[in-house]
Symmetry: C2
Subunit: 315 residues, 2 copies
């Protein structure tokens, strides 16, 4: 497959694995890169020293390109950026913040920068400061989402029309049909989260992976709209969050309910009652825990089948 994204990253398939917290260490990232996609180490759940270790291990595990995701709202984002430059990482995906502060430093060190955005407005800003591409993320995505709740299907073509830089599609894409749909919308590739979060190489807790496999189309909920939207699997904690919002709790009380380390508790420690188990609406399409190798085989086969079907319909 050839798109602007395969050219930009010198990869075989325009399939990026999202750099998810508590999920995407060197094992997952290197496995994805070895299959011809682009693996991302998720630094969001790593101190700078741990990130350095994961980068070193990832270089040992693959000779293909891989990258690192940095949530820019981290108080030690400076240090994470320094680790990336020290360790000669050449691809960074930034999210949750504005890349303007770091982009000059990164570009001076020949790092390609892709920013994750939920709207055309933020896409234009990312392009203006010099990002190489954007990930347009729809509200069906797991984890943190944009305030306007625009879906992938509606967002991607509007981004493609507005921007000159390549657009990757994220949110709700968990199989080859979703990848072909994203390409149809004009995307140059996709970023996939939940499907890889439930892979063998993911660092997530077995309870988390099992809950993704059991999920149906109604299994996730978008909560905490007043303090930064997050999509997660429904559980006891999620129900309390939804109820609190229905009752009109203010920001302070909601922050108290959210507390700290809920993501770790849910994704990494597998607490099904109190944990925040972030996952996208594509979870309902994930029916088994597979290796990254098996996932790629499946995705490519599904793309090919869907493409054949389209060519049969449109003659």
């Amino acid at each position: 497959m050839k798109t602007e994204i395969t050219k930009l990253f010198k990869i075989q398939y325009p399939i990026i694995q999202a750099g998810m917290v508590w999920v995407a260490g060197w094992k997952l990232a290197s496995a994805v890169s070895n299959e011809g996609g682009l693996g991302l180490i998720g630094s969001g759940s790593m101190k700078p020293d741990l990130l350095r270790e994961h980068i070193k291990d990832c270089f040992k595990a693959t000779d293909k390109p891989f990258g690192v995701n940095i949530p820019l709202l981290r108080s030690d984002a400076d240090e994470l950026v320094n680790v990336i430059i020290d360790e000669e990482i050449k691809t960074v995906f930034t999210s949750a913040g504005h890349p303007g502060k770091y982009i000059d430093k990164l570009k001076k060190n020949n790092v390609k920068v892709v920013h994750v955005i939920p709207s055309v407005k933020f896409g234009l800003k990312a392009q203006e400061v010099g990002c190489d591409a954007v990930v347009g993320e729809g509200v069906e995505a797991g984890g943190h989402n944009g305030i306007n709740e625009t879906t992938t299907l509606a967002l991607i073509p509007q981004l493609v029309d507005a921007l000159k830089i390549p657009v990757l599609a994220a949110g709700g894409i968990a199989d080859g049909r979703g990848i072909l749909a994203a390409l149809s919308l004009g995307a140059e590739g996709v970023q996939i989260g939940t499907r890889f979060a439930a892979s063998i190489e993911s660092s997530a807790h077995p309870n988390y992976k099992q809950k993704v496999v059991q999920a149906n189309d109604e299994a996730t909920v978008l909560a905490f709209k007043k303090i930064g939207l997050v999509r997660m699997l429904k559980n006891d904690f999620a129900s309390r969050a939804v109820k609190a919002e229905d009752e009109g709790w203010d920001e302070e009380k909601l922050k108290e309910l959210l507390g700290r380390k809920r993501e770790r508790l849910g994704i990494f420690e597998g607490d099904e009652i109190e944990g925040e188990m972030e996952a996208g609406q594509g979870a309902g399409l994930v029916k088994e825990i597979l290796s990254v190798k098996e996932i790629f085989k499946k995705l490519l086969n599904e793309i090919s089948e869907a493409q054949k079907r389209n060519n049969k319909i449109i003659s």
Copy 2:
């Protein structure tokens, strides 16, 4: 184009025009059917006698198949069904309720029944009672939406996997790229709303059409989650609705705020302050008010271009 839906309805293209309230009279429905799609008269804003007139006028304006949409929650749904049978309509799209009550009567009269659903659970129910197809409607759609807020991209492949009857995709589809995306997901066709609501043949007020054309990717909002979600263009009334929800208003107070005839006020009378101007997130893709003929030409050209691009990417 050939799919299960073109076969079912004996139409040229698997493109259905949504039977929208205050928008979809005989003019719009017949224009869509004349172009090779399936036009639907929206009975949601019509008394039974007015529906009868629109059906008669539609038969005069086209010799191609067309249908009628019935919101089943209408207190006079029985009468609407009787009009349909009297006037020998052979295609009915039902929404907002359960088709079980009317399906035997409709099927005995050789009427094909398609039900609009927001989840796999309701899709299975529709199949079980004998519907010929379903419209899977994602949360990006304008007007009323399902409680779980599943998006089109996530919903359609899950419906396709779960059901034996054909699945149409609706929500966020406003151009040919969206149609090809829906087909990629396994849909047998699409139902398009907002794009046709802003057409020349639509009965909507010029102010409404203008607001759709001016819309960007952040122009709509989903409100009234406690009393039946509805997606509409942002305006003064919508802001008040969102604020009320943030403050945790109860159902009774929200119903009072909503009041009555807001849809008519917004869509048909063009009141930009007090009206409920229902529209989907695809509004941002609508840049001009075109005739149905021009819209079809554009859609078919866009499908073809997107298909060529996919075939170039995947070789």
